[in-house]
């Protein structure tokens, strides 16, 4: 600020001593960027200006600066061409590009930070299920690296984790005016960089890239589990940043201790900071999100349709967006939409891929997960270590396959249908309160769907 003031004063005097065109051409975009030991460093927009000013106006500038600040002994010039550089080359783009021409979306990503400018916090709709994560995110932005470090966000697919963490990155960039170096990376990219580094013996590049930041954001950390070299490299990167009070932000689809292959030393570190979960959105939040998205697109939908969609699409916000896109498309194409058409679209979109799953697969998956034999599940044993898995099995058979209660009882050792009813209602209630249980169920579902 002080430099700016000094330079403005100097410029107004220099302006009097040289001709107007010369002033505009050579000195208009100049700045005083540093002053130490009597040496003033002046930046100019291009090399031509540098040559010209250095050769022609050195004495003028030096004497003006000296009048304002006696300590000035010498001036050095440098070139920084930040903006407006394409001025002379401006030309009208002849064929105006139509809106329907698709563009490479990836090119919009900021190459330095890897952040997609599309995600920002102001478009993040806050509700009961994500308010904790959002509050913590705001705190992280205000006090980078000090308050919650590392900041670990977890939650299911399509609930807005990526939006939130990229939003944090973009917000930090905006708030600190690019003075804080942010880097966003998916764990897949991180792994690829490690592989590249090892293969080309360029690990130094990799270290420089990731340790030279103030905020490191890693998305979907669960995927580095089990990749030994990547975990090792990440561990060291983590430590290097953490020790220097650099902010680390991590997202995952489940809490650290439930990432099966993640090494203990990493998961314990993750738990040392702030853990925040993003849960399934409640009805009000879904409604709010839908309304925001409709507004963003400049569309208009009848209230009963919006409410219907918010009611039906419950688990995945990406699905919610997909359904909305199709509804809007339908509305534009056919100029109008009925509730019936919406119902069809919703049903088509949110169908679960249940066709290829049979009850035995479910039983086997549960048994594998709890490391017991499938026979235990169907057997008579009533130890706690078997009862819980058995109830989970019943719950899943009902939840995924929609089997009837008598059928479930029959499949699990000819039990009474009331046992199945009891297990299902017990778990349905508990699953929303007990995070541990919820995680187990999600992990088992993963196993089932992956097969």
């Amino acid at each position: 600020m002080e430099f700016d003031q000094l330079w403005q004063n100097a410029l107004s005097e220099i302006e009097l001593q040289i001709s107007r065109p010369n002033y505009v051409t050579w000195l208009k975009n100049s700045h005083l960027i540093d002053k130490q030991d009597g040496i003033a460093l002046v930046s100019l927009p291009n090399n031509f200006a540098k040559e010209w000013v250095e050769n022609k106006y050195y004495k003028v500038i030096l004497s003006v600066l000296r009048n304002l600040d006696e300590s000035t002994k010498k001036i050095e010039f440098t070139v920084t061409n930040k903006q407006g550089s394409a001025d002379n080359l401006k030309k009208k783009i002849s064929n105006t590009v139509s809106k329907s021409q698709l563009a490479f979306e990836e090119l919009k990503i900021d190459p330095e930070t890897n952040l997609n400018p599309r995600y920002n916090l102001s478009s993040f709709v806050v509700g009961k299920s994500n308010e904790l994560a959002f509050a913590a995110a705001s705190a992280v932005i205000d006090e980078i690296g000090r308050k919650y470090n590392p900041f670990f966000i977890y939650g299911g697919v399509g609930l807005g984790k990526t939006h939130l963490i990229q939003g944090i990155g973009n917000e930090i960039k905006k708030k600190y005016d690019n003075n804080v170096r942010v880097k966003y990376v998916s764990s897949e990219k991180f792994t690829n960089d490690v592989i590249y580094g090892i293969r080309n013996k360029r690990m130094e590049d990799m270290k420089e890239k990731y340790r030279n930041v103030d905020v490191l954001i890693i998305d979907d950390i669960q995927f580095i589990g089990g990749k030994t070299s990547t975990e090792e490299e990440f561990f060291h990167t983590f430590n290097a940043l953490y020790e220097n009070n650099k902010q680390i932000i991590i997202s995952s689809d489940r809490p650290p201790k439930f990432i099966p292959t993640l090494q203990e030393r990493l998961s314990s570190r993750f738990e040392g900071g702030m853990l925040a979960d993003i849960g399934y959105p409640d009805y009000e939040l879904r409604l709010a999100i839908l309304r925001t998205k409709i507004q963003d697109r400049g569309a208009d939908l009848p209230e009963n349709i919006v409410e219907f969609v918010a009611n039906k699409v419950q688990k995945n916000l990406r699905e919610l967006e997909g359904v909305l896109n199709r509804i809007i498309f339908y509305q534009q194409a056919k100029s109008g939409i009925s509730l019936r058409a919406v119902e069809e679209i919703v049903n088509e979109t949110i169908q679960q891929p249940t066709k290829n799953i049979n009850p035995n697969q479910v039983i086997k998956a549960v048994a594998d997960y709890f490391q017991i034999s499938p026979n235990d599940l169907t057997g008579r044993c009533r130890q706690k270590s078997v009862v819980e898995p058995r109830q989970v099995t019943m719950y899943l058979l009902r939840d995924i396959l929609g089997l009837s209660y008598p059928d479930i009882g029959l499949k699990l050792g000819k039990r009474d249908h009331t046992t199945a009813i009891y297990a299902y209602s017990k778990l349905s209630g508990e699953i929303n309160k007990n995070q541990d249980l919820n995680q187990k169920v999600i992990a088992i579902k993963d196993i089932i769907y992956k097969e």
Partner: protein
């Protein structure tokens, strides 16, 4: 200054500088060419403060000196004069242009008012390449570049030099072209790689101006120099980081079409006559995947279609492209047979030559 110079030499020299001069209300001298004697040669220079081109031409120097004079005037009288020998004399800021039966007195300005052309600081390391190869490679990527005021970093050609390979890349975010120059086609003393972005205008001038066989490239943090026997082109570099474009390159192709290039170029040109405001032509497979149909329709004119024989592998499709983008890409190839890879109607398609993977062109479809 007193010179005798052959018409052709002067004309060629001025031609090289022609597009560099600009009208600048603040600095009218920018429309002038600097003429001076230097090392027994005649130096001609012009600049627009982003780019400076200097050409040395031979002639007989009777008396050393310098002047600047309006380039367009000088070029036009040089072009139209009949005599082979031209005398150029400077007297008090006027340039006397004289042949056997013609004489012109041109108002000039002294050299002291002409911008000083910057020098490069790092000339110890260089990259040397055959100028034909450089021009050929540049011409293959340049038509994908467009000036964007919002995104200066893609308003130029990326020179991505990584010691063992050298890539040129251009994009306007709707299509992207990448040309790799093989390791044995250049010589370099750089130990480390660099990525620089050359302004489109500089690239256009490089293509336009004739130069000798070898061109040497020097790099400074914010400017670069192309040097060939009688030519020096100094240009600023675009400040910014080129986007990480590699993630755009399709890793797999849903449909693989092999066809004869000329045939498709003609088909697209012909069919485009009926295409609408958004320049769209629709492409699909017909007749048991033996033919590629190119189709366009216009509600006022009517419709037309063309069948090009092809060898297709993979999924059926129905995708629209901007025909200009498609032709731009097709024209950048020289092979007879080539491959068009399509990935449905909302992911990038790829043009390549199956025998030569040093070049490819990617383009995005138009949403139908």
């Amino acid at each position: 200054m007193k010179l005798v110079i052959l018409k052709n030499n002067l004309r060629d020299g001025l031609n090289a500088l022609e597009r560099t001069v600009t009208e600048n209300t603040n600095l009218p001298i920018l429309k002038n060419v600097l003429i001076r004697t230097f090392n027994n040669k005649i130096q001609l220079s012009a600049t627009n403060l982003e780019l400076a081109i200097t050409r040395f031409v031979s002639g007989k120097i009777i008396e050393e000196g310098s002047i600047t004079a309006p380039l367009s005037t000088l070029l036009s009288i040089t072009n139209n004069t009949n005599n082979e020998r031209i005398n150029l004399n400077v007297e008090n800021n006027t340039l006397l242009f004289k042949t056997d039966n013609y004489e012109a007195v041109i108002q000039g300005l002294p050299e002291e008012e002409f911008p000083i052309i910057p020098k490069l600081e790092n000339i110890s390391n260089y990259l040397q390449i055959n100028s034909e190869i450089l021009k050929d490679s540049l011409s293959k990527v340049i038509n994908a570049v467009q000036i964007s005021e919002i995104r200066p970093e893609i308003s130029g050609v990326l020179f991505d030099f990584q010691v063992t390979n050298f890539k040129l890349v251009g994009t306007d975010s709707f299509r992207l072209a990448e040309k790799t120059i093989n390791e044995n086609e250049f010589k370099s003393t750089f130990q480390r790689g660099f990525k620089i972005i050359i302004p489109l205008k500089t690239a256009q001038e490089l293509l336009r101006i004739s130069m000798s066989e070898i061109v040497t490239i020097f790099i400074d943090p914010n400017q670069m120099l192309f040097k060939s026997d009688d030519l020096e082109i100094i240009s600023r570099l675009i400040d910014g980081t080129y986007p990480d474009y590699e993630q755009i390159i399709p890793k797999s192709l849903e449909t693989d079409l092999v066809f004869e290039r000329e045939h498709l170029v003609n088909a697209v040109k012909l069919v485009s006559t009926f295409s609408g405001k958004i320049n769209d032509v629709k492409i699909s497979l017909k007749d048991g995947k033996k033919f590629l149909e190119i189709y366009s329709a216009n509600q006022y004119l009517g419709e037309n279609k063309y069948l090009v024989p092809t060898k297709a592998k993979g999924k059926d499709f129905n995708v629209s492209f901007n025909w200009r983008y498609l032709i731009d890409g097709l024209k950048n190839f020289s092979s007879q047979e080539m491959v068009f890879g399509i990935n449905g109607d909302n992911r990038p398609a790829l043009l390549k030559n199956s025998a030569d993977n040093s070049y490819f062109y990617i383009l995005m479809p138009i949403k139908s």
